[in-house]
């Protein structure tokens, strides 16, 4: 089976991190023998708390280190740079059982890091072959995933709350993504919506996978810095994520 990747994108505060963590928990429970890579592409590194995993260093730390080497004239050729990126990237991955965790870290400081980013991304793509599932908690837009993580996504999942602004952002992201990355399917999740919310009937919106109401229990756990693994199985976010996961995987889910 080829690697199945999920990328969660959307406006800040709509619950991308919680949904990414919920998907990771559900995938781990459903497929205990499969390898999962969780990628935190949000500079806030919130997925670390949600999964209770601390990365030894971020990809940004490596980028800075390699960029310094280039400035000192130590490693400039392609072969050395790729080897350097591969060397350090291995140290970036936190592991717990079949779950690995990689944090991308802050966006670049001033200066051009295209060359280093290209090698780091190449290593992430090389390593991704080792996993059955990759779940990416993205920043608001897809550009950063495209530039810093990977160019091919199996499932793009824009997330929105019920606000017009968040829906508009999700719509724009889905539109930009269709041009920037190669993805097999796009499906939308409405999260943290008030009771009685009905998704808008807009042609431009991707198909809706799940509508999840506000989950006070999960909000409380978030406040306390508790991981997704402490939530009871029937929590609204886990139930909604399960529905979305089944809708995305569809027939594939049996063959995985």
């Amino acid at each position: 089976m080829s690697t199945q990747s999920f990328a969660f994108v959307g406006k800040g505060g709509v619950g991308k991190t919680s949904l990414s963590a919920a998907f990771i928990r559900l995938l781990g429970e459903r497929y205990p023998d499969k390898k999962i890579l969780a990628v935190d592409a949000d500079p806030a590194v919130g997925l670390s708390v949600a999964l209770d995993m601390v990365p030894p260093m971020t990809v940004d730390d490596i980028r800075m280190r390699i960029a310094e080497n280039i400035e000192r004239g130590e490693t400039a050729d392609a072969v050395s740079l790729l080897s350097e990126a591969r060397f350090h990237m291995t140290d970036c991955i936190a592991e717990r059982g079949n779950l690995s965790f990689l944090a991308i870290g802050r966006p670049e400081a001033a200066g051009c890091y295209c060359k280093v980013n290209a090698y780091l991304k190449q290593v992430i793509e090389m390593f991704s072959d080792n996993y059955d599932f990759i779940v990416i908690d993205g920043e608001a837009g897809i550009e950063q995933i495209n530039r810093r993580v990977m160019e091919r996504i199996t499932y793009l999942v824009p997330v929105s709350d019920g606000s017009r602004k968040a829906i508009s952002v999700a719509q724009t992201i889905a539109d930009v993504a269709s041009r920037l990355v190669s993805c097999e399917r796009t499906g939308m999740i409405f999260n943290r919506v008030r009771s009685g919310f009905t998704p808008p009937d807009a042609d431009e919106l991707p198909p809706v996978l799940a509508v999840i109401g506000d989950d006070p229990n999960q909000t409380q756990k978030d406040m306390e810095g508790e991981s997704i693994f402490t939530l009871p199985p029937g929590s609204p976010i886990l139930a909604g994520a399960k529905k979305a996961l089944e809708a995305l995987l569809g027939e594939k889910s049996e063959s995985l």
Binding site: V79, F87, N130
Partner: protein
């Protein structure tokens, strides 16, 4: 090639007279090839050579080994005898053919040295930091538990086979060191000097690099016998050809 003579002399003076294990190259000894994209997970790793912050030295040196034959030498315990992360050094000594074009040989040093990055034995996950001169290796439990457990002899033979694909390579000695009592600090210093020599040769071959006053490689040129000769010979050739 004498540029690395001082390195080789020091290397062999740091090693015991007899290795703990050795094997002359044989195709049959080569390790099964793995996937170049493979990542060995911690859960599947028996131990890491150079792991847990221990010494991890990597170096490719060009010159004449004591025995001009393809050979793997091990100083210390073999993979199957190790159980924890351990200090590690790996030197590859390459003798180039005398009959090959001298200039071409210099130009190929880095290309040949880079070949070590293309080695992917199954269950032996190598990662190299060229800037730090570190080589760390995660060794898979499965590689040690199979009917013919992986050994340094297998890995060394695979590396020799890879290097011998270069026409200019006459023979290869690949030296693995896991002995706890080895002087890894001195070995790391030798690796650093060897890399400086290779980098300086590359720099010398570039057409815009002949202002000694501003060249950071000058100390290497001053120290290594033959380097200045190579440097100024190149300069004279360039002047003669108007390039």
């Amino acid at each position: 090639m004498n540029l690395y003579k001082v390195i080789l002399d020091s290397l062999y003076s740091l090693l015991p007279r007899q290795p703990d294990k050795s094997a002359v190259y044989s195709d049959a000894l080569c390790a099964p090839e793995g996937d170049k994209n493979a990542l060995l997970f911690r859960a599947d790793t028996a131990f890491e050579l150079g792991g847990s912050g221990k010494a991890a030295v990597e170096s490719v040196v060009f010159g004449d080994p004591p025995q001009n034959r393809d050979e793997v030498l091990l100083y210390g315990k073999d993979l199957r005898e190790l159980s924890d992360d351990t200090p590690f050094a790996h030197f590859t000594v390459i003798k180039l053919r005398e009959d090959s074009d001298k200039d071409l040989r210099y130009e190929q040093l880095q290309t040949i040295a880079f070949s070590v990055f293309q080695l992917y034995p199954e269950g032996y996950h190598i990662r190299i930091s060229p800037s730090a001169g570190r080589e760390q290796v995660r060794v898979a439990r499965s590689a040690l538990e199979r009917e013919h457990p992986l050994s340094f002899m297998n890995v060394g033979c695979s590396l020799i086979r890879l290097l011998k694909k270069h026409e200019d390579v006459e023979s290869v000695n690949t030296v693995f060191i896991t002995d706890q009592n080895s002087d890894y600090r001195a070995l790391a210093e030798l690796a650093r000097k060897a890399k400086a020599i290779t980098d300086t040769v590359q720099r010398t071959l570039m057409p815009d690099t002949l202002d000694c006053a501003s060249c950071k490689m000058k100390p290497v040129c001053d120290e290594i016998e033959g380097m200045r000769e190579l440097h100024f010979q190149k300069e004279r050739e360039r002047k003669r050809h108007g390039t």
